[in-house]
């Protein structure tokens, strides 16, 4: 489903910053991959390169067989198949919950108003906030906003879902409700790439955990093996710090 080959990405924010160094990873349909690592390790950059919110400098990224980095690729078509959930939700503040979810359906998928509304209502039920469809984003709690954001991404019927630290901006008591939605999604067989610091989620839901540091993938493996028998020194250090 996702195939990343030898991807490099360097930022020039006055000084050189190697965000991704020769990253290769392949993700099968239905697989849930959790990317962890210290901040600045390139996890978010990798995720944002997958739908070309950042353009990788070199290498290849294939999503469902389509080369994302090929300039001839219609990136909007690819993005319509790749849902993304952001740390800061990024709901559209001038539209209510329902319109947030129907907008892209109508504009990109060319669905009728009725069809888009029906899909939106179904998704709101799924994420457990059907009663909030007329509310505006600033009237919702962080957890509710993030669930709307997930529904908004799902409304496009994507083949892949990318989560960029979806719970990092949430108050602790709201993290659970968002993770619950994500777990259900994983159970239904959605292909997911999740950047997170929620080790519990990684342990419970991930098919594979990828540990990144300094722009490279240091270690990857199934969670039970990853958490109990990390092979690499940096992985051990990171886990010992985060699981304290």
């Amino acid at each position: 489903m996702i195939d990343v080959r030898n991807v490099f990405k360097t930022f020039w924010l006055p000084h050189e910053l190697k965000a991704l160094v020769d990253v290769s990873v392949s993700i099968a349909p239905g697989e849930v991959v959790v990317v962890i690592g210290p901040s600045g390790s390139g996890k978010s950059t990798l995720l944002r390169c997958l739908n070309r919110l950042e353009t990788a400098d070199s290498g290849h990224i294939f999503i469902d067989g389509i080369d994302v980095l090929d300039p001839r690729t219609n990136i909007n078509k690819v993005r319509a198949e790749v849902g993304m959930v952001f740390q800061s939700f990024n709901l559209f503040p001038h539209k209510n919950v329902l319109d947030n979810i129907t907008l892209a359906q109508k504009v990109v998928r060319k669905r009728s108003r009725a069809e888009a509304r029906e899909r939106a209502q179904a998704l709101l039920r799924k994420v457990g906030i059907q009663e909030k469809s007329a509310a505006y984003p600033d009237q919702l709690s962080g957890g509710q906003q993030q669930r709307v954001a997930i529904a908004r991404a799902l409304a496009m019927d994507p083949k892949v879902m990318l989560f960029d630290e979806p719970t990092s901006a949430l108050d602790p008591e709201m993290i659970g409700e968002v993770l619950e939605v994500m777990k259900n999604l994983a159970r239904e067989g959605m292909t997911m790439v999740v950047v997170t610091h929620e080790m519990g989620f990684a342990r419970e839901v991930a098919d594979r955990v990828v540990f990144m540091d300094a722009g490279s993938i240091v270690e990857a493996g199934p969670p039970e093996h990853f958490f109990s028998h990390p092979t690499h020194g940096r992985t051990k250090l990171f886990l010992s710090q985060i699981l304290k």
């Binding site: 849902g83 990024n90 559209f92 892209a104 990109v108």
Partner: protein, 335 residues
């Protein structure tokens, strides 16, 4: 911030009233000084002569052109139809009942008064005021359109659009409006009208060169307002829209601009206010807007002092009304 009604106000101290008094003394002192100065130079104030330059009664006279006879006078409501019969046949004039100066059967000679009627006409000042409003409105409309495109082009990743917009904005903002008006009228206007003349097409009147100069001038400032408005929208909004598969244009239209416009509106209205004031420069290319009209009235009436105060007051009236509107808008945008 507005306090809810009935909130007890902080009691005003003595210093408040002393300052208020000082302010009143200042204003009335200045007015008195001005008045005394005008008396010293024997200026004769004639405020009563001013209203006629806003509205006046125009007298229209109908006189017989040939030898003839009043054939009949028919009533149509409170108007009268006077029919004159002469060698050529019958001629009719339509006037209000009280204006008829002849009776049925009268013999009239050329030059004889048949009827008069008076009507209200807008004076020069009124016409000038209207033209100022008209020019400002049209220029704002085009200025906003130009500015919207230039503002979006200014933050485009395409160097062609970015540089084109940047060049436009810098040139316009870096040169005086007066010079720009001259260039539009004496350079571009001459070129365009000469070429039009070669093809036998009607000339474009100076008004439109004036409007063009104002619109391009305002456009550059609007472009910066639009740019700032768009850039003030969080980057995540665009990323969210694009990650859903929307194109650049779709994200702009559905997500970025609707949010940006709320922030753009108040400064945009402020731009409109300065445009009204800047339009006073258009008089130099023979557009009879408010300032030019005032100048013309001054030369005929010689009541320069009153008229220039009136002129300033009229501009103030326009801009103040607008800024009240802006305040209202701002209050609504916040909530």
């Amino acid at each position: 911030m507005r306090l809810p009604r009935g909130t007890p106000r902080k009691k005003r101290g003595r210093s408040y009233y002393i300052s208020a008094l000082a302010f009143i003394v200042l204003v009335s002192g200045l007015a008195a000084a001005l008045y005394i100065a005008t008396v010293r130079v024997d200026y004769v104030w004639g405020w009563n002569r001013i209203p006629q330059y806003f509205f006046y009664r125009e007298k229209i006279e109908f006189r017989a052109e040939t030898e003839g006879k009043i054939e009949r006078i028919t009533a149509e409501g409170d108007r009268r139809r006077v029919v004159v019969k002469d060698a050529d046949g019958e001629h009719a004039i339509d006037v209000p009942a009280e204006g008829v100066r002849v009776a049925q059967g009268d013999i009239v000679s050329p030059g004889d008064l048949l009827a008069v009627h008076e009507r209200w006409q807008a004076g020069l000042l009124m016409q000038g005021l209207w033209l100022t409003i008209k020019v400002s409105l049209i220029a704002t409309l085009f200025g906003v359109l130009i500015g919207l495109f230039a503002g979006i082009a200014r933050i485009s990743t395409n160097p062609f659009f970015r540089w084109a917009a940047l060049t436009y904005v810098e040139i316009i903002r870096g040169s005086p409006l007066l010079v720009q008006i001259f260039i539009w009228y004496f350079v571009l206007g001459t070129l365009i009208n000469s070429i039009l003349a070669q093809y036998g097409i009607a000339q474009i009147p100076p008004l439109w060169y004036g409007v063009a100069s104002m619109a391009t001038f305002a456009g550059a400032y609007v472009a910066e307002i639009v740019r700032a408005g768009i850039q003030s929208i969080h980057r995540g909004q665009n990323e969210a829209a694009r990650s859903l598969g929307m194109s650049y244009a779709q994200a702009m239209v559905h997500v970025i601009l609707p949010q940006a416009i709320r922030r753009i509106l108040p400064p945009l209205a402020g731009e409109f206010i300065s445009l009204i004031k800047d339009s006073s420069l258009l008089g130099i290319i023979a557009i009879r807007e408010l300032t030019k009209a005032t100048r013309e009235v001054v030369t005929t009436s010689l009541q320069a002092f009153e008229l220039w105060f009136i002129c300033a007051l009229l501009y103030l009236m326009l801009t103040f009304t607008l800024s009240l509107g802006v305040k209202y808008l701002e209050r609504r945008m916040v909530t």
